[in-house]
Structures are given as C-alpha cells and as structure tokens.
Amino acid sequence: MHPLNRKLWRDLYRLRGQALAIALIIASGVAVLVMSLAAAQSLLNSANAYYERYRFADVFATVKRAPISVARRIAQIPGVQQVEPRIVEQATLDIVGFEEPVVASLVSISVPYRPTLNRLVLRSGRFPEPGHNHEVVAGEAFAEAHSMHPGSTLQALINGRKQTLVVVGLALSPEFVYAIGPGALVPDSKRYGVLWMGREALEAGYDLDAAFNDIVLSLWHGASLPSVLREIDRLLRPYGGVGAVARKDQISNWFVMNEITQLHNIARILPVIFLAVGAFLANMILARLIATERSEIGLLKAFGYGDAAVAWHYAKLIVAMTALGVLIGWVGGYWLGLWLTSVYAVFFRFPTLLYTPGSVAFAVAALVSLVATLSGGVGAARRAARLPPAEAMRPPEPPVFTRNQGAFYRFTDWLDQASRIFLRQALRWPLRSLLTSLGIGAAIGILISALQWLDAIDRMVEAYYYEQQRQDAIVALVGSEPDSITGDFLRLPGVIAAEGHRFVAARLHNGHLSQREALIGVPAGSQLEILRDDSGSRITIPPNGLLLSAKLAEMLDVSVGEHLRIEVLEGRHPVVSAPVVALFDTLIGTPAYMHIDALNELLKERNQTNAVFLLIDEHQHQRLFARLKTIPAVGSVMLRDAAIQMFHESVGETILIYVTFYTFFACTLAIGVTYNAMRIALSERGRELATLRVLGFYTGEISYVLLGEAAMLVVLAIPLGCLMGFGLTVILASAFETELFRIPLVVEPATYATATVVVLIATLIAGILVHRRLAHLDLIAVLKTRE
C-alpha cells in the first residue's frame, strides 16, 4: 500500500469517532432518501401491478338509471376497450354485536362470476352461486373488523326491505384499496364496507332490470381521455349522469397516489438538511486535520507532490467517510424502505407486494451525498493544496486575540477566566460557532416539524369537528325529502336537535378552470354547522351567492365579487351563474356553501333536504341507532365521535412512525454535530486544557472550559432551532398540502419544549463521550512538545 494511503487509514482510524458521527449523519440523509424513494417506487409498482392484473378501470361514471343499451353505445366511443355497467347502491347494515349503523356499498357482480374490470381477488370462500340471491362477497378489511368469515350473516336494509345476507367469500378489489365511506375523511372498516352481490339480486332489490346506475370502463392505449369523458357525459346526461371521473380522480386511487406524492416530498426535503450538515462537518474535520498537518503537507510538497495530489489526498478522507455513510444509509434505507412498503402494503392490502427499490434511488443518494460532502471539504482541501511548502513547515500562526480586534471582548470582563476562554474562542470563529449552533438547531427543528404534526392533527380536529361541525351525527338520506322530515327525526329517541341541510353534486367553472364539488346548502341560522372567517368570527350565510373555501377559490382562481358558472350534476342539470360573496378558511376539503333556500331555488325545488344534522343525547345512542337502522330513507349515518377516533387512529399511527424516525435522526444529528464540535475543540485546545491541569485545575473544571462552549452553542441553538422548526413546518405544510387536507401552522409551546429537551439529552450524551477523554489527557506529553 502506498504510504500515503496507509496514513489515510490511520487518520481515519484516529478520527473514527468523528468520522462515524459524520458517516451516520450522511447515512440518515441517505436512508431517508432511499427509504422514501424506494417505498414510493414500490408502492407505485405494487399498485400498478395490482391494477393491471385485476384490470382496474380507467373511467368511472354514475348515473341515476340508464338502460343497458346506453352501455353498448358507450362501448362504441372511440378509444373504449371494455365497459362494465353495474349497479352500485348504498345500504345500511345491522351487524350483531355492533350498535352503530354501518354503511355498505353494494356492488353488482355477474353470477356465476365472470371477471371483467375491477376484478375481485378472492381471499377465502367462493363467489355467489346462481339462484342464491342472498349470497355476498365481503371486503376483507370490513369482514375482519367484524370477525366475519364465509358463513357469517348480516342484516341489510335494501331499498327499505330488511334482508338477511350470507357472506360466502372475502375479497379485495383494486377499486377499494382505500375504502372510504361516504362523507368520511379516513377509512373506517368497522362502519363502512363493500359487499359484492349478484346482479340479479340487486336488480330485483332496486328495480333496475336491464338497467345500470354505475359504469366503469377501460381504454385502449392512446385513447383521448378528455374526449371519452365528454362523450360519456353527453350520453349519460339524460339518465341523470353526474359526470364521469378518470382513474386519477377515483377516490381510492387518489389516496394511494397521494401517499406516493407525500413520500416524494419527504425524499425532497429531509435529506437536504442532513447532507448540508454533513457537508459542514466534513469541512470542519478536514480544516482541523489540515491545520495539524501543516508540516506534513510542507514535507509532501518539498518531496514534489503537486497541489492536486495533496488536495486529492485529503479529499479521499471525505470520500471514505461519505462512502461509509452511504453504505450504512443504503442498507438502512433498503430495510426501512422494505418495512415502510410492507406497512403500506398491509394498510392497503395489496395482494402482492413488489419491493422494487430501484437502483436510481441508491445512485441518487450516493451521488448527492458525495457532491455535498466534497463541496463541503473542497475549501479546506484547496487551502491545503495552496500552502507554499516553506510556509507549511512553520507552525501555524497562533490565533491572534487582541483587545482592539473586537471591543466585544470587553463584555466578557465580568466573567471568570475559564468562561472567558471559551467565550472568546467561540467569538474568534463566529461563523464556525454559528454553523455548529445551526447544526444542533436543525436537529431541534426537525423534531419540532415532526412533533408539530400532533399539534396540527389536534388543531384540525378541533377546528373541523368541534368549531365547524357542531352536530353529533349526519344522517344522509337516500334521496331528497321535504324539510318536514327533520320533525320526524326530532321524534326519534335521544334526538335533541335536527337540522336539514342539502348536498348537491355540481361542477364549478371559471373560464377553463373547473372543479367538481358538492354544493352544500346550509340553513341561515344553522346551529349545527358554523362557518368562520380567518379571525374566527361567524360568517352569516348570505341569502344568495357562493361561500367558497379559500382553497377552492385559489384552485378556481376566483375572488370575492367575481362570478362562477355552476353546472348542477343532478336533476335537470341546470347551469347558472352565481357571485362569490365571501371566502372562508377551512383545513379539510374544498367545500362550497350556499344558503339552502338558494340551492333549492337553483334546482327549482322548495324546502328539500338530503342530509339531516342531529344533536344526540349520548345516553340514548343504542335506542336511536336501532331505530335508524330500520328507516328506509336513511342512506348512511356519520358519527362525529367515531370519525374523530378514526381520524386519530389512522393518521396518528402513521405520524407516530414518522415521529419515531425523526427523533432517531434528529438525535443522530445533534450528537454528531456536538460530538464533532467538541472533538475539534479538544484537538485545538488540548494543550491549553493540559496546561490548566498542570496549573492545578481539576478535570471537572477543564471540562467546564470545553463543555461550556458546547453548552453555549447549544443554548444559542435553541432559539435558532425553534425558528428553523417553524420554518420547516411552513415548508412541510405547503409541500404536504392537498385538496383534502391543509396542515395548520400551530406549534404548541410543549412541542418546542419537547424537541429542545430531546436534543439537549442527545447533546449531553455527546458531552459525556467527550468528557471521558479529558480524564486521559497526557499532561507530560503536551508539555514536552511545542504546538
């Protein structure tokens, strides 16, 4: 081995603690990058494989009732490959042992089962047999939530008639990967499920002989999606079509793809921080090494090594540390990615999990890390290369401390000498001190941004479910009913208040921009749904015009005073123009509101409602629920408490995983930065510290000189970290913003405190690691040599 390379290995061994700290920070960045990219890729591949194998449809459309012949005309639209007209209905279920009403989507299948589009993955049991109209296949998640298996029975209210159904099989479908119930924000397998039953049974149940109310289709490659959608809408309009939807807007798929986008966001934001800090530390360690090896550098140059050779020699050290980090990160990222993918796979119930990390993720991670650390080290290496041999052989100029250099030394005068030493040291290299503080601050910031999610969730629940939605339950009716139905509900046991609202499918247009959105009709003095402006005061519903959520206004590029074209997708499909009269902020969804009378007016109807908001006495739940299950007009019941619980459960679990990750990575960052800063301080000031020991200072006292500086930088890091945490939260909130959720910018004081305490503990560990070295300072060796 070349002696210089041998020296390199020895340097690396000597600096192993620091090298490992840097490597671990780089590894964290690489791991996050590989993990999220690998999981995103695998998720996409798994979903696509699933979709392909089980023929997930490309277009979805619902209609009130259309004769089968229309389906044949749709099949003739250029670009359409295959169509499957179906019957999809909603029913309330009564499951023994489960008090609350359960909603199910009933989806027709052919009997005997003939797979076409959205094919079922039969997990157990069998498909319904001809002539057995009561046989159904249940969604696996739903069945598991209720411990149902082939042979179990349940009661369903089908078109007002109570029927006993027998589960004969459990299945998955690419259409219901993310099975979300009507009006729900997150999946709730206990209260919403999918049941597939024979077409004949549903035809009979809902009087849809030779007709369909839902159609899915696949397209040929290269088909023009917009023109197909247009054509379908044209064909279905006379039959009460509410607009065809492309796969990308299909709800289940939207959620799956949204998860993938979020993973890409994580890959974009977090590793940048780790790699920047890694680069800074690489620079620091190299600069120090070069300072201590000046004479060796001079010697090398005297021997005839060129500038480039010297620079490369030191760059190799960086490459070695980075390579170690990348390697650890690759392995860690590979496994974390596999784990994360399998978490998703279990959650989404993909029939087959494809873990396909793809070499791109690994290559990108390695390349980005190498570029980052090398650019961090390049300054130091270049300085080494530029040292003229003669100058290099001389010891470095001692750091110059003079009074007039900084009047700010004055303010240290009231301190004891030991404090002055580290304070002046820190002030002598303000940039380095600041960057160290920023590095530790970054750890605090990362933690804050992770813990903030919990605050944000609480805030979302508070704002949405308590401040805006004041009702205990929303009963969605099967169709619209006269307003007087609220009186009927008031007579049910336990109902304290009932209010009629109305939801109408519509498309809002502004020029070429358009958005499908339910128009929500609210009664003027609604007690059970209260909209607020950004100052928190109640908005009164104007008698005419639209009240838009700010996000929807942004998506449609419309402001107060301008008009939107409303294309109602129900009834006689009226198209009207209405002014936007006010905007309001909401964290969930992109709703649009109108006065319920104005909405009814739009449909040329009067006093109609299709959603009854209820305030319930919690002691009478059981009786009320039992009654609701028997009322034919009731389509579905959404309970606020259950919704909140599911929201916490599903979102909370994911967030807990991330908080754990972030805590681990932030601690690595904090320990790495502090440890490196202190080791370098120790290397620079070992001589002074030994001198203090000779002068009669105890180990504890010199440790104060060393750790005092670190403590000072950590203290400085706290406000910096809190600021960075808030900044990071802003960045993450905007990156993670979707049409469905906007993450509110709330960081509770406790979150700042927790993040700070965790990072303080991490830096304390670093302090202890370095402190142990102080006990072994070789006093005599130091005194024998000149620096």
């Binding site: 001692p398 401390f401 009074r403 002074e688 001198t691 002068l695 009669g696 000149r786």
Partner: protein, 248 residues
C-alpha cells in the same frame, strides 16, 4: 552509589526540608525493553533554596521534576511534601497539591492565547488561597506595563516572564522550572533567570531549575548533576552569582 544530598551551606534559611523524594524510580516499558528513566533517586529540597539540575539529555531530569511536582507518579519510592506523603495520592489529591503548593515554568510557555497577560495570571489566582494580585506578579517580573497584552502581542522572553509570574502569583511553596530559558537567547534568558532568582530571594520560594547550560549553575545554592537516571554529583556553591553576572 547514590549521591548524598545535604543542606545548602550558603542558605540563610533554617534548613527545613520542603520536599523529600526517597528511592524514586521510574521505569517505562517499551515492548520487551525496560527504560529506567530514574533509578533509586533520593533528593531533598530545602526551604528557600535554589537548586539547579544539570545533565545530558535523557538522564531523567524532567521525569524527576514531574514526579516532584505531582504531574507524574514514580514506579517506586515516595515523595513527601512537608508532612504529607504523596505516595498513593489520587489524581484529585495530586491536583490539589499542584494547585496549592507548586508553580511550574516550562520551556514552552503554555500561555492561554485567548487570555491577556493579567488574565493568564488571574486564571491561577482565582483558585489560589493567598495569591498576589496579577498586576503585582507581573511587576515582579518587570512587565507591569504589559498587563493587557495578549500572548501573541508579547515576545518569547516576555511570554516566559508572564509564565513565571503565573507560576509565582499563587505564592507557591515550590517553583519547578524545566528549561525555562531553552527557547530564548542569552539576553532574554538572563531577564527570565533574574525573575526566578528574585522570586526565590524575595518570596523565599524553594526553586528547582533544569538547564542544559552549565553556566547557569552558578546562580544556584546547589547543583545536582544527572546521568543515566541517577544523581551523580552534588555541588554546593558558596556564593550565588546574580543572573546578570552570567553570560553564555
């Protein structure tokens, strides 16, 4: 074999021993070979005397001084400071001993770069029991006007005098100097030696000084010559020369 050490003839002091080292040995093991840095050395330093240690490189002078100063521990033998035995003392006890009783001056000045002359001294006086004021200590070594200078703003000789001032500011019982003039030219060296002699005379500090320069031996009460880990010769000077009279 072992040279007898005896009370200084010329000293006016009461011949009370300050520091007694008896049977001091120090052995280093470098693989198979044992290096005997000190072999069974007996030494007594009396109150207020100035002893010069001479000897070739590697003969064990620094090793002895470090053991006497509580920086190092002997492999065998023991050190008594007044009526305290240092044998078996813990690191903390040795630190306390150095803090309370010993002043060190080394060839390399070992000043703290980020502290001014006065602050370097205050570093010690802040933890000492009966210290001189930093300004007073600096005046003793003739640097009264450089109180606020940082080490980088001082010459080598001046830095060494600050180091001496730092060593004596706590009014130590023993002042141990290891080649204090090693890095200085002769004129500057004389200034430094004068400072040491003055401290020894005025404060009555027991002083041991290592040098390679035989001429310097003339300023001592006693001269101990080292060879191969032993004291091989003791010379007592009837008259101490003032450092100003020395030249090399």
């Amino acid at each position: 074999m072992v040279a007898q050490t005896s009370a200084p003839a010329s000293s006016a002091a009461e011949h009370r021993p300050t520091l007694i080292g008896s049977g001091l040995s120090k052995t280093y093991h470098a693989g198979e070979v044992a290096i005997h840095a000190l072999r069974q050395v007996d030494i007594t330093l009396y109150e207020a005397e100035l002893v010069v240690l001479l000897g070739p490189s590697g003969s064990g002078k620094s090793t002895l001084l470090n053991i006497l100063g509580g920086l190092d521990t002997p492999t065998a033998g023991e050190v008594r400071f007044r009526d305290h035995a240092l044998a078996g003392a813990s690191d903390t006890e040795l630190t306390r001993y150095r803090r309370d009783h010993v002043g060190f001056v080394f060839q390399f000045y070992n000043l703290i770069a980020s502290l001014t002359a006065a602050e370097n001294i205050a570093l010690v006086t802040e933890i000492a029991r009966a210290p001189l004021a930093p300004a007073e200590a600096l005046a003793t070594v003739g640097l009264a006007d450089r109180v606020d200078a940082f080490p980088a703003q001082l010459s080598g000789g001046e830095q060494q005098r600050v180091a001496i001032a730092r060593a004596i500011a706590k009014q130590p019982d023993i002042l141990l100097c290891d080649e204090p003039t090693g890095a200085l030219d002769s004129r500057t060296g004389v200034l430094v030696l004068e400072a040491i002699a003055q401290v020894n005379r005025d404060l009555g500090t027991t002083t041991a000084l290592i040098t390679h320069n035989a001429t310097i031996a003339d300023m001592a009460d006693r001269v101990l010559r080292f060879a191969d880990g032993r004291i091989v010769d003791v010379q007592e000077n009837a008259v101490r020369k003032a450092p100003g009279e020395l030249s090399w």
